[in-house]
Amino acid sequence: MIGFLEIRRRKLQFALVGLIVTLISYLVLMINGLGVGLNEQAGRALRNFDADAIAYSDRAGLSVIRSELSAETVERIEAESGARESAPLGYMAVNYTRNDGKVKSAAVLGYDPGTIGEPPVTEGRPLTPADADGLLADRQFLRASGLKVGDTVRLAIRLQEREFTIVGELNEGAFFFQPSVYMLRSTWQEMKYGTNAPGTPVASVVLLKGDGLAGKRGAGWEAVSKSTAFANIEGVSGQQSTVQALQVFGYLIGGLVIGVFFYVLTLQKTPQIGVLKAVGATTGFIFRQLLVQALLVALGGVAIAVPLAWLTNEGIKQVPDPVPIAFTTGTFVTTSALLLLMAVLGVLFSGRQVAKVDPIIALGQQQ
């Protein structure tokens, strides 16, 4: 009650404290959001594969770029891995020209309709085996290119260029830091190798579904879990270390600032604590008031910071070349809980000081 009334009556002081908590929470959330965004940019499409493991050529060093599988190897993977379901998948990077004339790259994934490699379409229709010149485009690709379902786009690789019609929209995310588009695997093979002739590689990797597949290997192939595959995306491991360091420092410094802030705020109340003790308040009673106050202010700050971060994310999404930023419910929950915990810890650390406050200070002076 006393803590709550003090907040009500000292609006400016507590608004400023709340502002600090809001800004710190916002900063920590944004650092986390940028980290998650970078990870998503690295390969959300890979994480979204409807697979438990991914098989590579054993000479590729778990690089999708360098992995090339022959028809025989794909057959061996399907036969030897013990997977319940499987789907060969092709990858290549292509260029396309945006409406503003800028040349951009996109990740092309070639799949077979009806297999686990087929991505779910959010708008338009899926590809059929007859859609040799059809394309499914991720919404990030459509936003970046300014195109929409029904438009045509020219994709270029080396000296070839081919026109495709976008028949469906996806929400599978980026692949290898590029917006993704999906086409038929036969088309991918033609574009990447210029031919469908026997002996031409038929896939880059094979998606596998089943139990205990990660770690399996056979002649010419090896399978790993999706998380291992993600970590082996070129540049991802270094990026993840940086992102994790940023997150840890964000939590640590943000948490400490908030904790120290509430600690100092409590110490400033020493004269009032002395008076309360002099009139018979126990340390526990005073402590509860301080705790309620810290929780209310921290909750207020976090309650503003969370929607603010979410709105920032929504705003950033609207620009054509957005900064990679993404939020998960987990990010919001973890960050909010941690910052609230640090506010409480700040008060807890001041607990000893509260216990040590001598009620004699209420007398103002001794004679």
């Binding site: 009556r9 008076v275 003790k277 009139v279 009673f285 004679q367």
Partner: protein, 231 residues
């Protein structure tokens, strides 16, 4: 309500060795229920230190303070807080109201601390504010009150939990003589009407003469013990 206080050989020494200061030296006295006692003496004579020890704010170096036969000098922690909360009403010289609370809320804090029924506490707070001429100022913040009003709120706060022991440190310092007299009369009425015990530290001899007895202190010692003419 019938409180007896017996102070024996009370001593308070601040510091140690050559730096030791004897604030109170071997003070002994006893009171009867319903008594209002004034403690006078020059600054530094130890009267506030003695009041603080009786109020459980300071631990004596030596001696006993028996309140209804219980030596409160030995109490610590929660027991001491309980003694201050339930037995003592302390009016500080610097009034020490919580600045962000209204006059009424400052009184209700006592009920919160004591875990008392809030409805009854509100009625009690309003009654005390009325008696002390503060009914119209009950919703004013402590910072909006004049010095005299703050002191009267502090007195009301001290009486809020109906304490048996009312300890008052220079209650009239910020009041004009007429208001000071009125406040001391209210305190005396409260003490006598409920068989409580009032101890008032004051420099104001006019106020001291309103008490039943006057204890005079000098250099930490009780040097005179006068029964007031009106007592």
């Amino acid at each position: 309500m019938s409180i007896r206080l017996k102070v024996e050989n009370l001593e308070k020494i601040y510091g140690e060795g050559e730096r030791a200061v004897h604030a109170v030296r071997g003070v002994s006295f006893a009171t009867e229920p319903g008594e209002f006692v004034a403690i006078v003496g020059p600054s530094g004579s130890g009267k506030t230190t003695m009041l603080a020890m009786i109020g459980g704010l300071l631990t004596p170096t030596r001696g006993t303070i028996e309140v209804n036969g219980r030596d409160i000098a030995r109490l610590r922690g929660k027991e001491l807080a309980e003694y201050r909360r339930q037995k003592v009403g302390f009016v500080f010289q610097a009034n020490n109201l919580l600045p962000y609370l209204t006059a009424r809320e400052n009184l209700l804090v006592m009920a919160r601390i004591n875990g008392s029924d809030l409805k009854a506490a509100r009625a009690r707070a309003d009654q005390l504010l009325e008696e002390l001429g503060l009914a119209a100022r009950r919703d004013a913040l402590a910072t909006e009150l004049s010095g005299g009003e703050r002191q009267r709120v502090a007195i009301a706060r001290a009486l809020m939990n109906d304490p048996e022991l009312v300890l008052v440190d220079e209650p009239t310092a910020s009041l004009d003589s007429a208001r000071g007299k009125q406040v001391v009369e209210s305190l005396i009425a409260e003490v006598k009407g409920r068989d409580k015990l009032g101890l008032m530290v004051t420099h104001d001899m006019a106020m001291a003469e309103m008490a039943d007895r006057v204890l005079e202190m000098h250099d930490g010692q009780l040097v005179a013990h006068t029964v007031a003419a009106r007592g």
